[in-house]
């Protein structure tokens, strides 16, 4: 079979591709899964949290740091860290803002799940199109929108030059590959530690398990919710930076759409509400995409991922690592 021959022949290369791709999906998926764990809500607007980080990165690199070409030496880590910090912060703030305006009023009222989903879709549309209108020529309520994004993709200056470091069974591993996977693992460890060891993290776990009891035990639900959104936003922000650096992507208002859907599928695949599940789901989905491309060609794209998702859900509706079932 041609497919099998291709997959075997390209195995190590595509595995590397899948791990890199998957790390980015995993980080975005963390945001989806955490919010779901705490609020039982799919945050459709999370893809826009991802998008905001790419736009911020664009401006941080080109305007704050004035980067015009790849950097070397000490400047590179500094600029990277600066960009990462700014982008992550921006994403975190976006996530918290979405929670405050699109979800909290519904939560306070005890609205049914469907309302949250629809409000989420509304938030997603709003932010996407707000950014698409931000080209200095459109105005909203008599304020002219600043020229931050607009309708044309804007290339983010390349700060890092790709260097091949070593090979694994014939598959070249570059410094960018290591950066992406390394940052993803680091973020996951930090998040895991936070959730397991800190007080606020315990609060998150408590609310995820049983919000009524948690609130009775003195956990401030609002604070937990805001923290959850903020952390998810930070993760998505980091994912945005890595996405741009890995493939030299241009910032664009719709950039979050596809990675968002795939990451959400990854979260569901791994078992939504489960942090480790999100990581697993992300990596798995990345691998499915890469090896699927080797098998049948890339023109089928997302179809593979969705087929796998549907397949898994039919056999195990709660996802691979299961999910914390709430009454």
């Amino acid at each position: 079979m041609n497919c099998l021959h291709n997959v075997v022949g390209q195995f190590w290369g595509q595995t590397r591709n899948g791990l890199v791709l998957g790390s980015i999906y995993a980080m975005i998926a963390l945001g989806y899964t955490m919010v779901y764990g705490v609020l039982q809500l799919i945050n459709f607007a999370h893809s826009e949290v991802f998008m905001v980080s790419t736009v911020v990165l664009l401006h941080v690199f080109s305007e704050w740091f004035g980067v015009t070409g790849p950097l070397g030496g000490a400047a590179l880590p500094l600029v990277l860290l600066g960009g990462l910090a700014a982008a992550m912060l921006a994403s975190g703030i976006t996530a918290v803002t979405i929670e405050r305006f699109a979800y909290r009023p519904l939560r306070k009222r005890g609205a049914p799940r469907l309302s949250f989903l629809i409000s989420a879709i509304g938030a997603s549309l709003t932010i996407q199109y707000l950014f698409s209108l931000m080209d200095g020529r459109h105005s909203l309520l008599f304020f002219t929108l600043p020229n931050l994004m607009g309708n044309t993709p804007r290339k983010v200056p390349t700060v890092m030059e790709s260097q091949s470091l070593f090979s694994v069974f014939g598959a070249r591993i570059t410094n960018k590959n290591l950066l992406v996977v390394g940052v993803a693992i680091l973020m996951l460890l930090l998040l895991d530690t936070f959730v397991q060891r800190t007080r606020l993290g315990r609060g998150i776990r408590a609310v995820a398990q049983d919000p009524e009891t948690a609130s009775m035990m003195g956990v401030n639900i609002d604070k937990v919710v805001v923290t959850t959104f903020f952390l998810g936003g930070l993760m998505a922000g980091a994912a945005g930076v890595l996405f741009v650096i890995q493939i030299g992507a241009s910032a664009f208002w719709a950039i979050g759409f596809l990675p968002g859907i795939k990451a959400f599928a990854a979260a569901v695949l791994g078992g939504i509400g489960n942090i480790r599940g999100a990581m697993l789901g992300g990596l798995l989905l990345g691998m499915v995409e890469a090896h699927g491309a080797a098998c049948a060609g890339s023109q089928w794209g997302t179809v593979f991922s969705f087929a796998v998702l549907v397949g898994v859900l039919m056999i195990r509706p709660s996802g691979i690592l299961g999910e914390r079932v709430r009454a």
Partner: protein
């Protein structure tokens, strides 16, 4: 409490904004002009904004240039207002835009549609409204098969482009094996497949073929080519032909360079733009070959650059052709009015009559070439291999290798 009141204020302000936006209708420019010049409107349909606009703006700017010249010309019997019908190149955004253009009572002709997909989506609208529409850049072959009476193509089509690209690959690049890559759009896929067919006929081994599921031309999002690059590496191909647009070919080359993939790269007219050069980067783009039915270093280009100044695009693809289409329309308007046309309908009919009257003996002489249209297909009668130009990227600039007759002999 604050939320309810804030909502009321917001609602009022929002309503005001919408009203203000709606009421600020832009009146048609028109411009007086001396004498009894008839006011006509021509719409330019294409990607004025959006990621694909570097492929369309040069032709539109040149058209505007020519219309301005005509408007200033003594004794020219009309004042032409050139309006934007911005579709961002998308066939799905096109129909309402085309409808508006078609329903404008002053419209006498359409320049465009610039892309093939939007041509398919809007051709019937213009044809049924009997408005002549001339494209300076839509190269898909099947556009001629719709039997649109009012459609004319002022450039060569993808059958020729694909054939010549295949010839170039076979005669000049002489690869060990060829990998066919396309962007699954209605422009890139047929072009790539035409090249594939030609290459096979020439005896070249096809190492593989794949398409991009969600190309940037559709989604605006840069594609991650890592899995495609791995496929190409595994196939052992030393040459890749890419059918698609600059927003995809550029990132492909830059990612390929980073992945250490060293191949000969060739693409079609969709990649001939500054976006391609910018996205591909220095290392990625070096040595890439391109083919297009347009000469970007023609004499006219100097005039275009001087006229546009800072707005001129550095890769003025289809600029000459855009200028010429404007000339065709302008000439048609003049002929129509001289023959007695006064209303928009009459002028449209007059333009069509003029276009149909061009023959290879009595063509319209433009800056790029001579124009005469085949009575059945409305394609260029005067199309020949010498109208296709090959380019190579050296030091992030496009070098004109010459036209097909010169290069392929």
């Amino acid at each position: 409490m604050r939320s309810s009141r804030g909502l009321k204020v917001f609602a009022v302000l929002a309503a005001f904004t919408m009203l203000a936006a709606a009421c600020s209708k832009k009146k048609a420019g028109g411009g007086g002009g001396g004498g009894n010049r008839i006011e006509v409107t021509v719409y330019g349909q294409g990607a004025w904004t959006g990621g694909a606009n570097t492929l369309v703006l040069p032709s539109m700017q040149s058209a505007q240039l020519h219309f301005d010249e005509l408007n200033k010309e003594e004794g020219y019997p009309a004042t032409i207002t050139f309006k934007q019908a911005d579709t961002q190149g998308s066939g799905d955004q096109a129909p309402p835009v085309a409808q508006e253009a078609a329903q404008d009572p002053d419209t006498v002709a359409i320049m465009g549609p610039a892309f093939s997909g939007e041509s398919r989506a809007t051709g019937d609208t213009y044809n049924d409204a009997q408005i002549p529409f001339i494209t300076a850049s839509a190269t898909a072959v099947d556009l001629a098969e719709f039997n649109w009476d009012y459609w004319y193509r002022a450039v060569g089509n993808d059958d020729a482009q694909g054939r010549l690209a295949a010839d170039y690959v076979a005669d000049v690049l002489k690869p060990k094996s060829l990998f066919i890559l396309h962007d699954t759009t209605d422009y890139g896929k047929p072009l790539a497949e035409t090249v594939e067919k030609g290459a096979r006929a020439a005896g070249i081994k096809i190492a593989g073929k794949t398409g991009i599921a969600e190309p940037a031309i559709n989604t605006g999002t840069t594609v991650n080519f890592s899995s495609i690059i791995s496929q190409i590496q595994a196939s052992g191909a030393d040459t890749v032909f890419f059918g698609g647009y600059d927003v995809d070919s550029g990132p492909f080359l830059s990612q390929a360079a980073e992945a250490g993939l060293h191949i000969n790269f060739m693409s079609g007219d969709g990649s001939v733009s500054s976006v391609f050069l910018e996205q591909a980067g220095g290392t990625g783009s070096e040595g890439a070959r391109l083919v297009a039915p347009s000469n970007i270093s023609a004499d006219f280009v100097a005039k275009y650059a001087a006229a546009e100044g800072g707005d001129a695009l550095s890769v003025p693809i289809y600029a000459s052709e855009g200028y010429d289409v404007a000339g065709l329309i302008g000439e048609g308007i003049k002929q129509a009015i001289e023959d007695g046309a006064a209303s928009a309908e009459e002028i449209r009919a007059g333009i069509k009559k003029h276009l149909d009257s061009l023959t290879s003996n009595q063509p319209y002489v433009g800056v790029a070439k001579d124009y005469a249209f085949d009575p059945d297909t409305h394609e260029l009668v005067t199309s020949a291999d010498e109208l296709y130009y090959f380019y190579q990227v050296r030091n992030q600039a496009l070098v004109n290798l010459g036209n097909a007759t010169e290069v392929l002999g």
